[in-house]
């Protein structure tokens, strides 16, 4: 089966610094792939490339079997992919309008109540009329997730979506993510610093270290039989980051 995403010979540089070098990476349709690695490894950068928001310095990214760049990816396909960023940026409007934003871009009209359902799902229905800029960090992060989920994307890129949340909310968000994957077949790439979260949610885990994918394996193998010494060290928390 053609993978949903196929990354080949990818390199990404900022100035003279190479921050990503990935000979090959596949994301299968319908899977949850966790991306773990120390701070500065290039996780967020890789998500920007996978969302075709930035073009790689070299190499190719295939989406559904076709190579695209930010310039060549058709709008209809671009709208099947979305990212929940590490730092949520909400628009200066109501919470409900924020969640409806992506829908309005597509239809010109409003969200027909889908935005309220999405807010309900992340436990923020009571904040729908509030001004988005007044939310706490964790609330903003959940709104940011709701406005991505409401679009029902084929590929959802999550950059530490539970970083600012308390344990109860972490569980609730994990449940939402798992449900979207199970019921709607949403393919998810999940960046997380929480290896337990990766273990709970992902079918496969990829370990990114200084821009290189040192290991990609099925979740159980990754945690029980790490092949690379650095993976083992990372899992044991021996790494300083």
């Amino acid at each position: 089966m053609t993978p949903l995403l196929l990354v080949s010979d990818l390199e990404h540089r900022y100035g003279a610094r190479t921050v990503l070098r990935i000979p090959q990476l596949q994301v299968q349709a319908g899977e949850i792939l966790a991306l773990v690695g120390p701070s500065g490894a290039g996780k967020s950068t890789l998500l920007r490339l996978l969302n075709f928001l930035e073009a790689p310095s070299a190499g190719q990214i295939h989406f559904r079997g076709q190579p695209y760049t930010p310039q060549t990816l058709p709008l209809a396909l671009r709208r099947r992919i979305t990212t929940v960023f590490q730092q949520p940026i909400l628009l200066d409007m109501s919470v409900r309008a924020n969640v409806a934003y992506g829908l309005r871009l597509r239809t010109g009209g409003n969200g027909h109540g889908q935005e309220d359902a999405a807010l309900q799902a992340v436990g923020l229905a009571h904040l729908a009329p509030a001004r988005a800029r007044t939310l706490s960090g964790g609330e903003a992060q959940r709104v940011s997730l709701a406005r991505a989920l409401v679009l029902d994307p084929d590929l959802l890129l999550l950059d530490e979506p539970t970083a600012n949340l308390d344990p109860g909310n972490v569980r609730a968000i994990e449940e939402i993510v798992a449900t979207a994957n199970r019921q709607r077949g949403t393919t998810i790439v999940l960046v997380t610093h929480n290896v337990w979260q990766a273990r709970r949610l992902a079918q496969r885990v990829a370990f990114l270290y200084e821009g290189e994918l040192l290991e990609t394996a099925a979740t159980a193998d990754f945690f029980e039989r790490p092949q690379h010494p650095r993976t083992a060290a990372f899992l044991h928390g021996d790494m300083v980051y």
Binding site: N51, L75, F85, D92, G102, L105, A148
Partner: protein
Amino acid sequence: METILRGVVEALQLLLSFDADLREIVGLSLWVSGAALAISVVMGVPVGVWLGLRQFPGRQLLVALIYTGMGLPPVVVGLAVYLTLSRQGPLGDLGWLFTPTAMILAQVILALPMVAGFTMTAIAALPAQLILQLRALGATPAQVNLTLLYEARNGVLAAIVGGFGAIISEVGSVMMVGGNIDHKTRVLTTAIVLETRKGNFDLAIALGVVLLGLAFMANWLLLRLQGRLDPRM
């Protein structure tokens, strides 16, 4: 003190009597400055958005020119437009000198850098990640720009109202290129200069009150607009 009071009373009388001359002067002021503002907004807002977002060679020079343009003395602009439109000037054949068109042209030169410059500042102050966020949510380039304008709306509105305030109240350029011709190019500011010189302080004050009223209304409109667009209110 008494002169001022009498002036205010006369202003009210003039306004309430819908004095034809006054209406003509106010109308021309609004037409000249309104048209100049409209042209400046149509040209200046897109330029400001573009400058706020893009890096390109020569950008700094352009920005420096715009900043300089924001502080141009109206009389210098008046002189330049005068020379350009005078019979020997490069655009003398147009026959625009001493017409409202010449006044609009001069005021566009005054307002355009303000609108473009303040719009640029407001757009550049938005978080850099915002564009990526909008594109990730599926916005087309046009939708990105519109949303950025919405996010920067307070700054952009202030740019527009500031531009209007600057040109409705300036006298130097409209005097030079319009000539303050009765029933043709006389606007509030040039009329105030004329009436003061003639010693008609009552009328001059009346005109001044009207001018202040217009400026006040522009700002009031701004606040109303900001309030309507502001989810806090």
